[in-house]
Amino acid sequence: MIVIRNRDLRSVIKVAVPFIIVPLLTFAGSVVFDQKRHIIISLAIAVMALLLFAAGFERKTTGSRRLVIVSVMTALCFAGRFIPFLKPISALTIITALYLGGEAGFLVGAMTAVLTNFYFGQGPWTAFQMLAWGLIGFIAGLLAEPLKRKKALLLIYGALAGVGYSLIMDIWTVLWYAEGFSVKLYLGAIVTAIPYTLSYAVSNVLFLAVLAKPFGEKLDRIKTKYGV
């Protein structure tokens, strides 16, 4: 795998990949190739972003305690996806990110997507779900300080994350169906997805409101007790 030794360069890449390179490549791809290739390009980029992340993670000396905590949180998310209508995954991902950092948040989100799809069916969407949930966690990690201080902000972030997740997945639906981006189809997809969008946003707000404090305390306690 790719080895990047310079610490500064690594941290630059960590931010640059999701926020600059991925959108840029998507844009370049849509200009260079004709419309048909959108879906493949977006898929390739999603996979590449995930691989880059995996490579960076693999290089780091992450303590086994941290690894296990991430897998425990993933398992809790996994169990949560079987609750009908309400999905605590994003909420738990955000909480993990707040207390253990953006990287842990990304991991919990992305890994939960893979795991749950063993039951709900893997598909090309797995890569997009991984990226979408991962980014929800990663961004929450970047915004950890203000989100931890003000509960209102946290709830707003949760609602936005739910809507954002749905919008990202709708882009993917349209790309898959039409082999090219069509605003009309996108609007159609958004309208048909409204119940889901609402359920995501509502469950995020609900679970963040209920779980943020107790879970934060638990994670904080573990952190001070064992120094994760």
Binding site: E58, S71, L76, F78, L107, G123, P124, Y177, I222
Partner: protein, 292 residues
């Protein structure tokens, strides 16, 4: 001879991604038909006539997807009829059917993929890319039944102590929340102990081993080579535009030249590879049984 699902996970994954990649990349009705028909055939060869519900679901999905496009898109020259002052065209309908065939085909492929690639096999592949991520995955997989078992114990204990009863909704909900909270605390603490135990036993000092031995044998290599060769031919045909297809404004249906024909034929062969293997295996099995 092993059945297709017993092939090395790497060989199986390369084959699935080749088939699905071409199906998603091409967009030519001929390729779509091959993909959809092949996917259904493969599913039936593996599962028999069970899973009638899935077939029904896919059929309904196919119809909905096929009809969605002509209702939304009004491109195309041949107007069939006018609905709410908007023309419904033949081209848009065919385009919808084509897209539906692609999506339903890929869904069928992935249904089979999920059946064959059990979590253990996925871990084998993930382990090749990133051992740490693969460890997280496998530990989470193990943790879920462990949590469920533990939750049952905690909930039973709480009920026995008379802390909550489930005939009162609010009481039940609060009880469940308490059980969840207990489980979460316990899971985190238990995780730390697991981690310390792992470190004490030398986690990270050597290569990770697998529960099952996977060996990339010569037949896996042969299968992969054939897969890649067929993929090469059909990908070349798609990339060179020999399998292009225009729906708008008029349908231009032609498979251009030798490249197009060989590309479609190669894709057909690629799709049928495992069906041939499965059939061969089951014939041989029946033959061997008949001699007992």
């Amino acid at each position: 001879m092993r059945s297709f699902s017993e092939f090395d996970p790497i060989a199986v994954t390369i084959w699935f991604f080749s088939v699905i990649g071409i199906a998603m990349f091409s967009g030519h009705p001929l390729v779509m038909s091959i993909s959809l028909a092949g996917a259904i055939l493969f599913f039936i060869v593996r599962n028999g006539l069970r899973h009638g519900r899935s077939h029904l679901f896919f059929l309904i999905l196919f119809i909905v997807l096929a009809l969605a496009n002509p209702i939304i898109s009004h491109n195309g020259a041949t107007v069939l009829f006018v609905l709410n002052n908007a023309p419904v065209t033949l081209e848009a309908l065919l385009y919808g059917i084509n897209s539906a065939a692609m999506i339903v085909g890929v869904l069928y492929w992935f249904r089979s993929f999920t059946q064959i690639m059990t979590s253990e096999k996925v871990l084998r592949i993930a382990g090749a890319i990133s051992p740490k991520l693969s460890l997280i995955l496998s530990m989470s997989l193990r943790a879920v039944p462990m949590f469920a078992h533990r939750a049952k114990q905690v909930s039973d204990a709480q009920k026995a102590m008379g802390l909550y009863n489930d005939d009162n909704i609010i009481d039940d909900l609060r009880g469940r929340m308490r059980v969840f909270s207990i489980i979460a605390t316990w899971a985190l603490e238990n995780g730390i102990i697991t981690a310390d135990s792992m470190t004490a036993r030398g986690y990270g000092t050597g290569r990770r081993t697998q529960l099952r031995r996977f060996r990339f044998s010569s037949s896996d290599a042969a299968f992969t080579l054939v897969t890649l060769a067929l993929l090469g031919v059909s990908a070349a045909a798609v990339a060179s535009g020999a399998l292009d297809f225009n729906f708008y404004p008029h349908i231009e249906a032609d498979v251009k030249g030798a490249a197009g024909i060989s590309g479609a034929a190669a894709y057909g062969a690629l799709v049928l590879l495992p069906v041939i293997i499965e059939t061969e295996v089951s014939i041989r099995w029946k033959y061997l049984q008949s001699r007992i």
